[in-house]
């Protein structure tokens, strides 16, 4: 991955549009559609209906109902929004913070020592445990969950970016820029960052996928997004006590969750292959 991004811009053939990528794109669009329009049409799926508890899928409740009588279809559709929000916001946050720290560490020797020791320390704590601790620390809520998921990912991204930056800054064009008198900030912003963006985007897709999964894991352990903010993670988690009685509570959002993560990962892989000069530019 190191110098993965040092490829030319705009060099895209249609050959990247493979069948898995098409399917992934289709699903992602569908999920995005659900996320944007779902709650407008179906509400957020929080209406309680104790008389309709644990009903299997039927004409009036397509995906069945949960133990509070809430409609799983409505919750699945509106859960798309929050899962997507968690994924995308976390990725953006991680990208911004981790990216910035990575660039700083990669370019400035003094910052490198400090930042990387802290990163090593944070990475030495299993991410999920750190996240649990953060949620308990900050209290429940969507924002908290996003922060909690982001924090353990930041050092990883910072480290990755640092190594990318380190390899970019060794490239002759950076030296060339220094020798024509460019200021450091200009070199970082105009040469290093644009060339690291590719690697960063690939990392972003993985962080996005991981965030969606982490949110589910946190929900599973009871410290995920709040119950009135349905996400696929917490809908699945709310069904874990009922997985033999009402498997539909887990099944539908669980499948959607897996599809979302799968699609993002496939796109990420494709993006990485696309940017990896070793694969695309085998020969000079």
């Amino acid at each position: 991955m190191s110098v993965a991004s040092i490829t030319a811009p705009g060099k895209r053939g249609p050959e990247w549009l493979t069948i898995p990528v098409c399917i992934s794109l289709f699903f992602l669009l569908m999920i995005l559609g659900m996320a944007v329009f779902g709650p407008m049409i179906l509400g957020n799926g929080n209406e309680l209906n104790p008389m309709m508890r644990l009903k299997p899928p039927s004409a009036e409740a397509w995906f069945g109902t949960d133990n509070l009588g809430r409609d799983i279809f409505a919750r699945t559709v509106s859960g798309a929004r929050n899962s997507v929000i968690v994924g995308v916001t976390t990725a953006a946050l991680v990208l911004l913070v981790g990216g910035a720290l990575g660039v700083i560490a990669g370019y400035f020797h003094w910052a490198d020592m400090v930042l990387m020791r802290v990163a090593d320390g944070l990475m030495a704590i299993p991410g999920i445990l750190l996240a649990i601790a953060l949620v308990s620390l900050l209290g429940g809520g969507l924002v908290t969950v996003i922060i909690a998921i982001a924090v353990p990912e930041i050092p990883r991204t910072a480290r990755l970016l640092r190594s990318v930056v380190l390899s970019i800054r060794e490239l002759p064009f950076v030296m060339a820029s220094v020798s024509v008198g460019s200021a450091t900030h200009k070199i970082i912003l105009q040469h290093i960052v644009p060339n690291a963006i590719g690697a960063l985007m690939v990392q972003a897709t993985y962080v996005c996928a991981a965030a969606v999964l982490s949110e589910a894991a946190l929900s599973f352990l009871g410290v995920g997004t709040p119950p009135d903010v349905p996400s696929w993670g917490n809908v699945v988690a709310s069904g874990k006590d009922y997985f033999r009685l009402a498997p539909w509570i887990i099944a539908f959002p669980g499948i959607m969750l897996s599809i979302l993560v799968l699609s993002i990962n496939i796109l990420g892989d494709q993006l990485r292959d696309q940017l990896d000069p070793r694969l695309t530019k085998r020969r000079p």
Partner: protein, 313 residues
């Protein structure tokens, strides 16, 4: 070599310090008071205050941090604020299932993933290769607990091959122990072998396009020999690296798997301790976890010498 090991060990010190301070601050800055948890449902405020004093939670934060670092330096992780058991002994009680589960998963995953990855690389571009690539993406796209529940449903409840939950310690016999951990290990192996197989495939592809592979073929070596004698050793470093780095992910998975299968391991101990604010236990466990990770990374670094003679001097 020795100085390499020594330096590597020395570099662990700041990492551990960061871990210690992070963990300490995390717990002590947040809301949630162990004293109130200990005191229980209908405790009065005086009772809670009393407990706070006993646990020295009323002291200034820095003083507590200082005391705590001092204790850790003398390898004293304190006692659980609930049971009063030394944290060390709680950890020792719980370490066995987690360790065996982690090792079992690793062995299982490596046995599955490396042959699969290598084979897929060898057959790169075929339908089978694509199937494997997709399978590996699925492996780390499906939440661990979904896989776990599915396995319980099939292999424990329907087929009754394995127990539904719980852990049989080694003292009950090796086979019983392995049997009780088989489903959890398979659950985790989905994730772990997906990660490793991916890297194995990718690096194998890369190695196979290396010049020295061409050299081996130009010498007249047959395919299998090229693969096993010339290529395999060279994927060692990246594969071992990914095993090391995804060990953290594995530990995260262990936490969840232990909940699904009710295995009394370190993962559940940590989650429970965080949720009940059992500070000394959380600190102790997280520190142990990070020591394990640090140690694994150390081993990974050292193992490079096994695969890559360039590292040896």
């Amino acid at each position: 070599m020795n100085s390499f090991v020594f330096k590597r060990l020395l570099s662990v010190v700041p990492v551990v310090l960061v871990v210690l301070v992070t963990v300490f601050l995390l717990l002590h800055i947040g809301p949630g008071d162990p004293a109130a948890m200990i005191a229980g449902e209908n405790a009065t405020r005086e009772q809670i205050e009393e407990i706070r004093q006993r646990l020295m939670l009323d002291r200034p934060l820095l003083e507590q941090l200082w005391l705590y670092l001092g204790n850790v330096a003398s390898l004293n992780f304190g006692e659980s604020v609930y049971s009063g058991f030394p944290v060390m002994s709680l950890i020792l009680q719980r370490v066995e299932p987690t360790a065996i589960l982690a090792i079992y998963t690793m062995v299982l995953s490596i046995l599955i993933s490396i042959p699969m990855g290598v084979w897929a690389a060898w057959r790169a571009g075929t339908t089978l290769d694509r199937a494997l690539v997709i399978a590996s993406v699925i492996g780390f796209s499906v939440p661990v607990f979904v896989i776990g529940y599915a396995l319980v449903e099939i292999f424990a409840l329907r087929l009754r091959w394995f127990p539904v939950q719980g852990y049989k310690s080694l003292a009950d016999g090796f086979l019983a122990c392995i049997r009780s951990l088989t489903l959890p290990a398979i659950t985790l192996a989905f994730l772990f072998s997906a990660l490793v197989a991916r890297i194995a495939r990718a690096t194998m592809l890369e190695v196979l396009s290396e010049d020295y592979i061409r050299t081996a073929r130009a010498k007249g070596a047959r395919n299998r020999r090229v693969l096993i004698v010339h290529a395999l050793k060279n994927i060692g470093v990246p594969v071992v690296t990914v095993i090391g780095t995804s060990f953290a992910a594995l530990l995260g998975g262990v936490v969840i798997t232990e909940s699904v299968f009710n295995i009394p391991g370190m993962g559940r101990l940590t989650v429970d301790a965080i949720l009940t604010r059992d500070y000394p236990v959380v600190q102790g466990v997280l520190i142990s976890f990070s020591f394990v990770l640090i140690a694994i990374n150390l081993l990974v670094d050292l193992s490079y010498a096994l695969f890559d003679p360039r590292v040896r001097q």
